[in-house]
């Protein structure tokens, strides 16, 4: 993918996000001019950007959105929810296209119809809303409503071309609906169509102001290959030719081609709404024509040949037909019939009914309506006859979306222009300066005058007209002295007049004409080669071979002076995430490597007995340690992202869901700038969406219920992020119906999640938290309860996976508060090292509540389970060796106390008996892969400073 495209994608995503936010803000404050202006600017810029590329599907939708917003900001269209919906849909669509461009480099054909539909609905909105005030809708579209021959009409006319044997009359050429085909061309078309190459009838009706858009419809239509018949119609010629507006297209092009549908759609992909394409059935072409003959037909011959045809004796029939042909004058209608029957034998040998029907025409002297027999023919039948914009677009398969490599149009280098090529531009600039000079006076008039003079001097220098420069300077001085543009204007007008007269006198070709004053600068399209160039660029996507027409391409200048190009500075730098991850990994290894130094110091002293060296190593370690930690902090900072990254989608989501549910919700977001590590933020996204959805679905009541309960009709949903020391806390608070702990208890008991004793003593708060228990939620539960159970265990496990915790508080009738607590970063884990059975293990400090040494005397067994009482609370005790299925007893210390690690598992405190505690260390936890990956009970492994591997336990899985 080229850099420009990457830039486009990355910038566009920012715009899309901005647009989404602004739409949300506008919803609460639809009159806000700053919001409207900003929103318009976003869409406008996005459209402008997309116009640099070959993504008509995208540009079309954005253009329509822009027009709509333009109308809104000028008060022509009123802001409405429908409008927001439409625009949101449009932006979603654009987002999808971006994804596709990002992954495949192009836009798939499947999007063309959606693009057309979206565009249409946006345009409809514009038309509807502005119709009473403005011009009729049709004019807003810029497409005139001149009667297209409808497709049906065309086919009808075509099938029923009245060619009587008497006159042999051909359809009049003035009638735009019918074709004028010679028998030769008709037969060629017939042979194509009946042999599987569809023949398309194309009518292209360029919009009247297309010239102003730099289009050349004639050039476009000439790109259609394999045209077997073509026509061009000028619709309206004014009575007086002098009144003719040559810059308003009045043309209609029609053609018959064997080009493939894809080719056609590709050629006309920018103007699909101006093109109709119909596949013409083969038999439609079978129209015998010629002059009538006086001779009576040889009925015996006809019936004999008919019999041969019916019997499938095609060779004999053909022979007989040939013989008959030789005996007849070739310009007779009857001869034409014979030739057509022969053609049918050759190209459609199996369509006996059609062959016979045609031959029988010799008896009736009337062209048969063969199209009725089309269905029996193996040839293609009429397909896609609809001229609906959508369906035409549906067929567009931009297989060749311009290869967006560095050689495509935007970067194509351009050969130095010669004076001739510059001439029209030169005059354009002169005329522009005239406009500047005649602009109303203003405070900055002097600056404007000077700029005009410097521009004039520059262009004259460029054109090597150096003697003029002094005159310009003089005129400027005079103008500045008078503080008026006249002196410059006079000089300019003289120059222009002089130029014009010199050309007239010499009767030479005007060098691409002096532009008349009526033609404003914007009306001027580049001269022909430029256009040709642009068109070829477009065309080259269809036929790469054509690119040889661009000689400039062979001399790439791009970046030739890259070394001395001044690069402007920018304050933000976008960096690939992979690079940051790599940096993170490296610093992780650095931390581990640095941890080896204390071991080394130790060895220096104990093994080699060099105490001074040991001290020096330790001092050095302190320095490295500080730098490494600072580095680690800084890199973590880089990875930090504000939670607004997730929060930003809530306004839209809440809006959509609440509307669907018929609820009114006021969403409040707080602490959006709170930051956490990118991985945490990303991992948080799904659970949070789940929770919010749940709150909306089951927590908040309908407006009626709320009113009945004496609450505001609109429910309130608060999502708040705060930082508490090294953790981020996210709360989702609603003022809905709350959760009834009694029902939860009952359900949990029925499901066997708790036993009777628990049922009795469990507190309400603990009960509510049972919704997080695995296996709690079922469809049945959802309907009975306020439904908080839906997949909450999924939420919990997702949060726990990133070392987070989740909890819930609720008061019936008042509302529910759900909170998530998450580490700021997961890159470095603080673990406590413990010893058991002469091995060391790590346990994440996040889980450790406390470490205690429990005297054997204070341990008691209840129901064969070891327990002890800690701070007035019964804590179950488990031995690590047992948990790891090691057949050894835990070792107590000299005082017969057992080292016990109290961890929090699913909100419960559990004591794990180990042999001894050691220090805590920062490690980079790596998940285990391969065979070890399947090992339960461990959350990963880490490398220690001395090079040994530390297995980190996961008590949740162990217990």
């Amino acid at each position: 993918m080229n850099a420009l495209l990457e830039q486009f994608l990355s910038e566009s995503r920012d715009f899309l996000q901005g647009i989404g936010e602004k739409l949300m803000q506008l919803e609460s404050d639809p009159e806000s001019i700053p919001f409207l202006t900003e929103l318009f600017r976003f869409i406008h810029t996005l459209k402008g950007n997309s116009g640099l590329f070959d993504f008509p599907e995208m540009t079309r939708v954005l253009h329509a959105s822009e027009d709509l917003m333009d109308a809104v900001r000028h008060g022509r269209v009123h802001y409405s929810q429908t409008l927001t919906d439409q625009l949101l849909d449009a932006m979603d669509f654009v987002g999808i296209l971006m994804d596709e461009i990002e992954s495949t480099g192009r836009i798939g054909s499947s999007h063309a119809s959606s693009s057309a539909k979206l565009t249409k609905s946006l345009r409809d909105l514009l038309a509807q809303a502005s119709a009473p005030v403005d011009a009729p809708a049709s004019e807003l579209h810029g497409i005139s409503n001149i009667d297209h021959p409808s497709v049906d009409q065309v086919l009808e006319e075509f099938a029923a071309v009245e060619v009587t044997p008497e006159t042999g009359a051909l359809p009049s050429l003035d009638a735009p609906h019918a074709f004028d085909l010679s028998e030769e061309v008709a037969m060629a078309l017939f042979s194509h169509a009946s042999q599987g190459t569809p023949v398309f009838w194309v009518t292209y009706h360029p919009e009247p102001d297309c010239f102003f858009k730099g289009e050349d419809p004639f050039y476009l239509v000439r790109q259609v290959p394999e045209v077997l018949w073509s026509d061009c119609i000028l619709q309206a010629v004014p009575a007086l030719l002098i009144d003719m507006d040559v810059y308003s297209s009045q043309l209609i092009f029609q053609l018959l081609t064997c080009a493939s549908q894809e080719t056609l759609d590709d050629i006309f992909r920018y103007v699909p709404d101006q093109v109709q394409r119909v596949e013409i059935p083969a038999l439609t072409f079978v129209v015998p024509r010629g002059s009538a003959s006086d001779n009576a037909n040889d009925e015996e011959f006809i019936s004999r040949t008919l019999a041969m045809l019916r019997d499938g004796e095609l060779e004999r029939a053909a022979h007989s037909l040939h013989t008959m042909l030789e005996l007849s004058a070739s310009d007779l209608w009857s001869s034409s019939v014979l030739r057509w029957v022969l053609a049918m034998i050759e190209f459609a040998p199996h369509n006996t009914p059609a062959q016979c029907a045609l031959l029988e025409a010799l008896l009736t002297h009337e062209n048969p309506d063969l199209t009725l027999l089309a269905h029996t023919a193996p040839a293609p039948v009429v397909t896609a006859l609809t001229a609906e914009l959508a369906s035409v677009e549906e067929a567009i398969t931009p297989e060749n979306v311009a290869a967006l490599d560095d050689t495509s149009a935007p970067t194509a280098s351009v050969a130095p222009s010669n004076t001739d090529a510059l001439m029209p531009c030169f005059y354009t600039v002169l005329h522009a300066q005239k406009t500047v000079l005649t602009a109303p006076a203003s405070a900055w008039l002097k600056g404007r005058l000077k700029s005009v003079a410097s521009t004039l001097i520059a262009v004259h220098r460029a054109m090597n007209k150096l003697d003029e420069i002094a005159h310009i300077q003089n005129a400027l001085d005079a103008a500045l002295a008078n503080n008026a543009p006249e002196p410059l204007l006079t000089w300019l007008e003289q120059t222009l007049a002089h130029q014009a007269s010199r050309e007239e006198v010499s009767d030479q070709a005007k060098p691409v004409s002096v532009l008349s004053d009526q033609v404003s600068v914007e009306d001027i399209t580049p001269d022909a080669p430029a256009l040709q160039h642009a068109q070829v660029a477009l065309e080259s996507s269809v036929e790469p071979a054509k690119s040889v027409q661009r000689p400039e391409e062979s001399t790439p200048h791009f970046g030739r002076r890259a070394d001395d190009v001044a690069v402007s500075t920018s304050k933000t730098l976008k960096v690939d995430q992979e690079k940051i991850d790599r940096l993170m990994n490296l610093i992780g290894e650095m931390v581990v490597a640095k941890n080896a130094l204390p071991y080394l110091a130790n060895r220096a002293e104990t093994v080699f007995g060099v105490r001074d060296l040991s001290r020096e190593i330790k001092a050095q370690y302190a320095v490295i340690n500080r730098v490494a930690e600072e580095m680690q902090d800084t890199i973590m900072q880089v990875r930090m992202m504000p939670v607004s990254f997730i929060f930003q989608r809530f306004p839209r989501m809440v809006r959509d869901i609440s509307r669907k549910l018929g609820k009114e919700v006021e969403l409040v977001l707080e602490g959006e700038s709170t930051e956490a590590d990118k991985n945490i933020i990303e991992a948080l996204s799904d659970p949070l969406i789940h929770i919010v959805r749940n709150s909306l679905d089951h927590g908040l009541e309908t407006p009626q219920e709320r009113m009945a309960a004496g609450k505001n009709a609109a429910g309130k949903l608060l999502i708040r992020a705060t930082q508490e020391s090294d953790r981020v806390v996210i709360e989702i608070i609603d003022d809905g119906r709350g959760i009834n702990p009694y029902i939860i208890k009952q359900k949990a008991y029925e499901k066997g999640l708790i036993d009777e004793s628990v049922l009795e003593r469990i507190s309400d708060e603990e009960a509510v938290n049972l919704v997080f228990a695995a296996g709690f939620s079922t469809a049945e539960v959802i309907s009975d309860l306020s439904g908080r159970g839906v997949g909450m265990d999924v939420v919990r496990s997702a949060v726990e996976r990133i070392n987070g915790t989740v909890g819930i508080q609720s008061e019936v009738g008042k509302g529910t508060r759900l909170f998530l607590s998450l580490p700021l970063s997961m890159a470095v884990t603080n673990v406590m090292i413990i010893e058991s059975n002469q091995q060391i293990f790590g346990v994440s400090m996040d889980m450790v509540v406390e470490t205690v040494r429990v005297p054997r005397a204070q341990m008691s067994s209840i129901k064969q389970k070891q327990t002890t009482v800690l701070r007035g609370r019964i804590v179950p005790l488990l031995s690590l060796n047992d948990l790891l299925a090691l057949p050894f007893a835990q070792q107590p210390n000299e005082d017969d106390e057992f080292a016990t690690l109290v961890v929090r598992v699913h909100g419960e405190h559990v004591g794990i008996i180990v042999d001894d505690f050691r220090e805590t260390v920062d490690i980079i936890l790596k998940p285990m892969t391969g065979i070890l990956g399947g090992l339960g009970g461990f959350s990963g492994a880490a490398l220690l400073g001395d090079g040994s591997v530390l297995m980190v336990l996961n008590p949740r899985e162990l217990i």
Binding site: Y219, M244, V246
Partner: protein
């Protein structure tokens, strides 16, 4: 390139751009018997095409470019 206007003949060469259309119409109106030479013309912008179609001047030489000639046969009628 462009159009060269002679006494009663306009010679269209290579590519004839959109900006020529107005002058072409003017010239054709001023010279009702003016003829058009397309021999070395490769393409004319649609604006010029519709001028030629509206005025229907005599074509003194048809383009060598077959495709263009095919399309311009509409002027023969």
């Amino acid at each position: 390139m462009g159009i060269e206007y002679k006494k009663s003949l306009a010679v269209l060469t290579e590519f004839v751009g959109v900006e020529e259309a107005e002058n072409l119409l003017e010239w054709l109106l001023k010279n009702p018997k003016g003829k058009i030479n397309l021999a070395s013309c490769v393409h004319i912008h649609a604006a010029n095409l519709q001028v030629l179609m509206a005025v229907k001047p005599t074509i003194s030489a048809w383009p060598a470019d077959e495709n263009l000639q095919h399309w311009l046969s509409v002027l023969k009628k």
